[in-house]
Symmetry: C2
Subunit: 367 residues, 2 copies
């Protein structure tokens, strides 16, 4: 396959980043530097995982009048959930906060990005699902990832599902990019091992897909190569969660996020999206379940993935597509093939010649 | 040697970048988007190399009232030269331009950065040589590199020499970082081969030094590794100047520049700085001359460098330190050992136990 231009030309970077163990202690100063007489208060959106972590909560520099909300992570963000949170902030008088601090995984970071855009742009979250629909800059926002892999700290989107229409699409906008992110590997020491692995593999998988595709970009390729390189060092080591490995995975997540801006995914993400839409499976574990069944399309990555999963003693859900009904089969096929750009990236415009209905279902049945 | 923390914590990124062949055509729109009723005019600082390149000059969107200055590149920037240029802009009424566009190599890009800071901060260039002395943001600025390697498009400094005091030091400041850079590999197709090689090797050399040092940072290492990887692919290929290689070198230069923010150089840069200070040799060719004599300290990089230089049929100055006088010897030693941080990074605090006067001179005599 010849190499095609991704068509992506202008890329907005995260404004600044702070890096290093203990750097979360800088949140207080950062927030204070944004407080003004007119906007003295900040909004903190924090992964519910930290609800009882006094040492983390106490280090954030919260003062009287700041809003603090714990973000539930059982389900990925919905436009309805975002709208509710914005209403709550309006009711508590946080219409123009000094800054919004998002502390958590992809769900919490994406929520912070969406809320920041809505507070200045008005309207409903669903109004901005798409590309470059956000009209004015959002509230200043600070992202503090506490798990590594999705790259949400670096990207220009915030994935949300509209429960009414079923549309899963983010606010793709330069205004969605964080002004400041804090990369403190100390925050990831308490992540459960399975979750740490699944999430970390999101970076590995989207970069493997990008480097295997036909739409290419020199800087996207460079970010992807180093992300894959870091992931190999981490997940093929004896312990993926040492201090140095967690630090490296935080870097891989950020660089992998930077890669997303100028690249496309391949076959894994469309199948993974179908598992999320049809079975409500979370994005990162769904990616792993799919790659585990993709030896035909990604033989090297599959074999490397199997080594990683055995080395790190990670458990993977199995039999997720056992006992499919006809309706489920049709739903899975439809939810997979709608992702035309990634499938074209991997297989060309005639991707349905390869991915027939029968082939798609036989792949799902291996999961 | 154990790994030490670089101490660098907060890093400002370039605001946005545009990437791809032909992307220089986007300069006009970018500049126009910055023009306002109060500041309708832009300042263009252009490498003298393009003085007769009508196709480049015509693509930049210059309008009546814009200032255009061609930057001489025989000598690297001086604080006196920057001050003169700022005075000229004041005299022509360009006190508050809409944006400053720097188009050229490191000399031109650094000049644009320094001028942008001075127009808003007042005073003289020498007032801001140091760290975080710039008080307020500079004029909006756009960088368009036309040669790849120094990373000037990505860094928070702009190197200048004060001819009165001999001090060679930049304005190290978050405000020195470009708001937008344009990475168009089409612009590097006319670079003379020797110059292309010397400049590209700047990225390779500072990343090799960083990865060999004891002060380390996870993201600095990641940027450095991919920069070295790209440089190997480029300079160990049969032709370093194909379209794809020039595109890759532009990426390597940018990522190498990103690496500088969180890393330190080693032994090569101090020796190279001494060649620049004592003999006025340009930075990039001086780096190459030094690495060529550094087989004792960087055996692998030296051997790789020799392969590259032979493959690409590049000529390197030789005998640059033939017939040294005692005064020149003392000047070279002093100009080398003043770079304590890089030398400590490479050899530890007792670096003078290794780098005795006699050893330093014997290294220079190999150049």
């Amino acid at each position: 396959m010849t190499s095609l231009d991704t068509g992506v030309k202008i890329v907005r970077n995260v404004g600044r980043f702070t890096i290093g163990d203990g750097s979360v202690s800088g949140v207080a100063d950062l927030v204070n530097s944004q407080r003004t007489k007119d906007s003295p208060n900040a909004v903190y959106l924090i992964d519910e995982f930290f609800e009882n972590s006094r040492n983390v909560l106490d280090s954030l520099g919260m003062i009287a009048g700041d809003a603090k909300h714990f973000i539930k992570t059982a389900n990925e963000p919905t436009t309805q959930g975002i709208d509710e949170l914005v209403s709550t902030l309006h009711l508590s008088g946080h219409n123009h906060p000094a800054t919004i601090v998002g502390i958590g995984g992809g769900i919490t970071l994406d929520t912070a990005k969406a809320v920041a855009n809505l507070l200045t742009n008005g309207g409903k979250a669903a109004d901005y699902q798409g590309w470059d629909l956000v009209r004015v800059p959002g509230v200043h926002k600070i992202g503090v990832p506490t798990i590594s892999g999705t790259g949400a700290e670096a990207t220009r989107t915030c994935v949300m599902t509209n429960l009414e229409t079923g549309l899963k699409l983010g606010m793709n906008s330069d205004y969605t990019v964080f002004d400041h992110i804090i990369l403190d590997p100390g925050l990831t020491s308490t992540v459960p091992r399975n979750q740490y692995f699944y999430t970390g593999m999101d970076a590995y998988i989207h970069c493997i897909e990008a480097l295997d595709g036909s739409y290419r970009n020199a800087i996207g390729d460079a970010y992807s190569r180093e992300t894959v390189n870091l992931c190999r060092n981490i997940f093929l080591s004896s312990d993926m969660m040492t201090d140095a490995r967690r630090s490296d995975l935080m870097v891989a997540s950020y660089l992998g996020g930077c890669a997303i801006a100028t690249s496309y995914v391949g076959i894994i993400h469309p199948f993974s999206a179908a598992l999320s839409v049809v079975f409500g499976m979370h994005h990162c574990v769904a990616n792993c379940v799919v790659l585990n069944a993709m030896s035909e399309f990604y033989p090297e990555a599959h074999s490397e993935f199997r080594k990683m999963i055995e080395l790190q003693k990670v458990e993977l859900p199995s039999g997720v597509c056992a006992n499919l009904t006809d309706d489920l089969r049709q739903a899975l096929i439809a939810a997979t093939i709608k992702h035309e750009k990634p499938l074209t990236n991997a297989l060309g415009t005639e991707f349905r010649a390869t991915l027939t209905d029968a082939r798609i279902i036989s792949l799902f049945e291996k999961m």
